[in-house]
């Protein structure tokens, strides 16, 4: 079947790809572009492991079609660090051990980045509700919340 030609900006780079009409953005990222940072935990919008930022909006990439990215900007976990300098959220997740297995981590990092962009000084409750769309089965969220709090402090100072 003929594919749909799509031009998008992914992590700052212009990217062109062909995809099928029923392929999700998550499929495109993972299977066509080799960006396997976003994970598929459910495919139904319930776990947040596939979170990406689409034109300043946090989305579940499993619920977006690959074709819908035409002309838009996509940010994934692979674009968070600058060269070998980690984003403060990445650094704080490491320092606080906010990951055990780490499968949820890319989704949490993207969701937290979006949260802090909109609310640089969130309360614990705002963090908890802001990240309620992301499931983590390993940590009990305690260390994730602390890492985000700590990163927010660092980012305000910067």
């Amino acid at each position: 079947m003929a594919g749909i030609a799509v031009s998008a900006t992914i992590n700052g780079d212009s990217v062109e790809y062909l995809c099928q009409p029923d392929e999700t953005l998550l499929d495109v990222l993972r299977d066509r572009l080799g960006l396997t940072g976003a994970k598929e935990g459910c495919g139904t919008g319930d776990c947040g492991a596939c979170s990406v930022i689409l034109d300043n909006r946090l989305v579940c990439s499993c619920l977006v079609l690959g074709a819908e990215a035409e002309g838009r900007r996509v940010e994934t976990v692979e674009g968070m660090a600058h060269g070998d300098k980690l984003h403060p959220l990445q650094q704080k997740f490491l320092e606080h051990a906010a990951l055990q297995c780490g499968i949820c981590t890319p989704g949490f990092l993207i969701a937290a980045k979006d949260l802090l962009a909109k609310n640089p000084d969130p309360t614990e409750e705002e963090i908890r509700f802001g990240l309620a769309g992301n499931l983590c089965r390993c940590t009990g969220y305690d260390k994730i919340v602390r890492a985000v709090q700590d990163a927010a402090t660092v980012m305000k100072g910067a």
């Binding site: 396997t36 935990g41 319930d46 980690l86 499968i103 949820c104 990240l131 390993c138």
Partner: protein, 754 residues
């Protein structure tokens, strides 16, 4: 030199610190490769067709249409996975669970599979497979399945463990019994007796990463399997046996694993992927959907438990008895047996008896879930213990302290305890500030204890010292939550070098000797023991090389803080040689330096925990909120305290989900109605408070550093602790888990009405 695993007190330099894990950067940048992140050239997409029926005879499967669909490269059924198990009943069950033979035994049971060029073709192909089912009556409830008129799931099963061999087949596969003393007499001495029945529903481990693998079978009979698993060596054995391969020809690489909690200790899709690849002659990638994960992997047992405990006025328990029925899915298991062993393990009892029944039901094959079987038993026992304390008029913590097992106590399941942590965790809980925090209206406080055995097992580790003085540590226990950091710390500690100079990796099955699974909280316990042993072997060589460099006897060289030191007056001017210096010279002193270790880690050291929690119950809706939560647990020695805390918090959170929300819901048709995260709701960030932890360190005498397993015990007390808190808040004893709002409301209303 024989390795001495006994504990010896020491001052730690690296162990007990909290460095960043070696695999951390890859995991925060998206570079780490999990099960579904690996691809091979020319790989096909595998998909599995699953039974929509809870119980059905498979009369015929017609795959001809699917085979003709362009792009389909292989279609398999049970005929392609013939029975090679040679009378090994447990392996036969695994095979039958991977691909149904004569009967489909639960909604979601695999009946056929395809490999095609892409996902869409594979999905289409599944629709073209025609299965002729004869639907049979089914049973999904554990109590119903025990009744005489219940539909029989396997007519070749006769209950084992009964005094008289039964004449009729049954859904009860086994009866087991533990205990000592005379409970009848014990109850005779009791002033108070509490007797109650409890139920718990089935839950799933709920790892966020679905099962995923890539299988590649070559025409020369060798094969590769890339897979997310808790035990790649065991997967190799099982897959090889089921497919009739030599284990040595199958190389299994464990990917990064996105959670397992026991659920990735069993093969499901892997033999199917290998069979598809063998038939298609191309690599096959098989990734389960979330729906398949719920319907066909995991879950834990549903249970029904009766408890009877008696005590004297002074608070001494005189007798304790439990009958435990655990669902096993459609295949025999030993889940109730484990429940029966753990039920009263926290207490010092003169008269105790527990009886377990393993029960077949038309649900997925029960899989281990973090301290498998223990949380349900603890829920029932600790609820009854709380109630008994209340009847006597004693504080629940004091009552437990009074009856807690101690060093020298004969456990309810047989062995006599060494030094253990139940008393200390209770005492720490008693004096924890949480106990004094004020409670608001409709809030209740609960606490409970938990026990887990911990496993050891076969372990093999390689420690290689590079010419630059760096150390690479290859272990065979899969890292499920940070163990590479812990093991690097242990190697650094033993060698006396900096943590940064050690890098631990998980080796594949062709690079290292056999290792048991990472289960039973054994990962850090047993691999750290093997790492210490390997490091000590390396130190012996380092000393020899230093002796050679100095031209003195090795007996005069000791190892101190990362250096060889010449001992004795006569060598006073020799100074020291660092590990780095010895490594740099190794090319001239006999070649590479390495230490190996192969051992069976014994004496994992039982573990105990006490949890405290505060719950608010809305009496109008039955909704609950967790206000405060505290975990106190013995770690023996916390190698990397942050990851130990993480294990405590994670187990508590899973327990909270189990206690309040999570359950498999089956319709009358025997189909699972909530196979997704929307309707099977695990706790999210906004459901939980911070989870406070207190690590106690009561050294395990059977480990050089005193380490005990820490991964599982934390899920044992929450069900009971929360049930006690909810019962205190709502003023009515809760006996059915999960305590979802409708159940709480019904209990409150029944209490008001009654």
């Amino acid at each position: 030199m024989n390795f001495d695993p006994r504990y010896s007190g020491r001052n730690f330099t690296s162990v007990g610190t909290r460095p960043i894990r070696p695999d951390g950067v890859d995991k925060v940048t998206g570079r780490a490769r999990y099960g579904a992140d690996f691809n091979m050239a020319g790989q096909l997409v595998g998909r599995v067709l699953r039974s929509p029926h809870a119980h059905a005879t498979i009369r015929k499967i017609d795959t001809s249409k699917a085979e003709k669909l362009p792009g389909v490269k292989a279609v398999i059924t049970a005929a392609d996975l013939p029975d090679l198990t040679d009378g090994d009943a447990a392996m036969y069950d695994i095979l039958d669970n991977c691909m149904a033979r004569t009967k489909a035994l639960y909604d979601g049971h695999a009946v056929a599979a395809v490999a095609a060029v892409d996902a869409r073709t594979a999905r289409q192909a599944l629709k073209l497979i025609v299965v002729d089912y004869e639907v049979l009556p089914h049973v999904t409830d554990v109590d119903e399945a025990m009744k005489h008129h219940a539909p029989l799931i396997n007519d070749a099963i006769f209950t084992e463990g009964l005094e008289e061999k039964p004449v009729k087949p049954s859904n009860v596969t086994k009866r087991s019994q533990f205990g000592h003393g005379d409970v009848h007499q014990g109850f005779g001495h009791a002033d108070f007796v509490v007797e109650r029945s409890f139920k718990t529903e089935q839950t799933h481990q709920g790892y966020i990463e679905p099962h995923a693998c890539v299988a590649s079978v070559s025409s020369d009979g060798t094969a590769d399997l890339w897979v997310c698993t808790q035990g790649h060596f065991v997967y190799r054995q099982h897959c090889a046996q089921l497919l009739g391969m030599e284990a040595s020809k199958l190389r299994v690489t464990s990917s990064e694993i996105g959670g397992g909690f026991g659920g990735k200790t069993h093969v499901w899709a892997e033999p199917v992927a290998l069979a598809l690849s063998r038939k298609a002659g191309r690599p096959v990638k098989l990734v389960m959907t979330r729906d398949e994960v719920f319907r066909a992997s995991g879950p834990t047992s549903a249970t029904s438990i009766d408890i009877r405990i008696g005590a004297r006025k002074d608070g001494t328990i005189t007798a304790a008895e439990a009958t435990l029925r655990y669902s096993c899915g459609p295949y025999a298991g030993s889940w109730a047996e484990i429940g029966a062993m753990t039920a009263f393990a926290c207490y010092k009892l003169d008269n105790v008896k527990t009886v377990g029944y393993e029960v077949l039901v038309n649900r997925p094959k029960t899989a281990a879930y973090r301290a498998p079987s223990a949380p349900m038993a603890a829920f029932a026992v600790e609820s009854a213990v709380d109630e008994l304390a209340k009847e006597i008029g004693m504080d629940p913590v004091e009552f437990r302290i009074r009856n807690a097992a101690q060093e020298g106590t004969r456990s309810s399941y047989g062995p006599v305890y060494g030094p253990i942590g139940i008393g200390p965790t209770l005492e720490a809980a008693r004096s924890h500030p949480h106990m004094k925090a004020p409670l608001g209206p409709n809030q209740g406080r609960g606490m409970a204890c938990g026990f887990w055995f911990n496993f050891g097992g076969q372990t093999c580790t390689d420690l290689n010292i590079g010419m630059d003085g760096s150390v690479s540590l290859a272990v065979g226990t899969v890292d499920v939550g940070g163990s590479r950091a812990s093991l690097s710390l242990v190697a650094a500690e033993e060698l006396g070098i900096a943590y940064e100079h050690v890098k631990a990796i998980v080796a594949d099955t062709s690079s290292l000797g056999y290792n048991d699974m990472t289960d039973g909280s054994r990962g850090t316990f047993s691999s750290s023991m093997a790492t210490i042993s390997a490091a000590r072997n390396a130190i012996k060589i380092l000393r020899e090389r230093a002796a050679q460099m100095w031209d003195i006897s090795v007996d005069d060289v000791v190892w101190e803080k990362g250096h060889a030191v010449a001992r004795g007056e006569k060598h006073g001017n020799l100074g020291k040689l660092s590990l780095k210096e010895i490594a740099a010279a190794s090319g001239k002193t006999g070649g590479p330096i390495a230490g190996h270790s192969e051992l069976v880690a014994d004496g994992a050291g039982v573990s105990f925990a006490t949890h405290i929690c505060d719950i608010e119950v809305d009496p109008e809706t039955g909704a609950t909120r967790v206000i405060r939560y505290t975990v106190v647990q013995d770690a023996g020695k916390a190698v990397h305290p942050t990851y130990v805390e993480g294990q405590y918090q994670g187990g508590a959170a899973q327990g909270i989900g189990w206690a309040l929300n999570e359950e498999y819901i089956y319709g009358k048709d025997g189909r699972l109605q909530n196979p997704g995260f929307l309707d099977y709701r695990i706790p999210v960030c906004s459901d939980l408070p911070m989870i406070d932890t207190q690590i106690l360190e009561i050294p395990n005498p059977n480990h050089p550093y005193g380490v005990r397993g820490v991964g599982e015990t934390s899920i044992v007390p929450p069900l009971a602790a929360i049930a006690n808190a909810v019962s205190n808040a709502a003023g009515v004893r809760m006996t059915h888990i999960p305590m979802s709002p409708p159940r709480i409301l019904a209990a409150i209303e029944a209490e008001r009405g009654g």
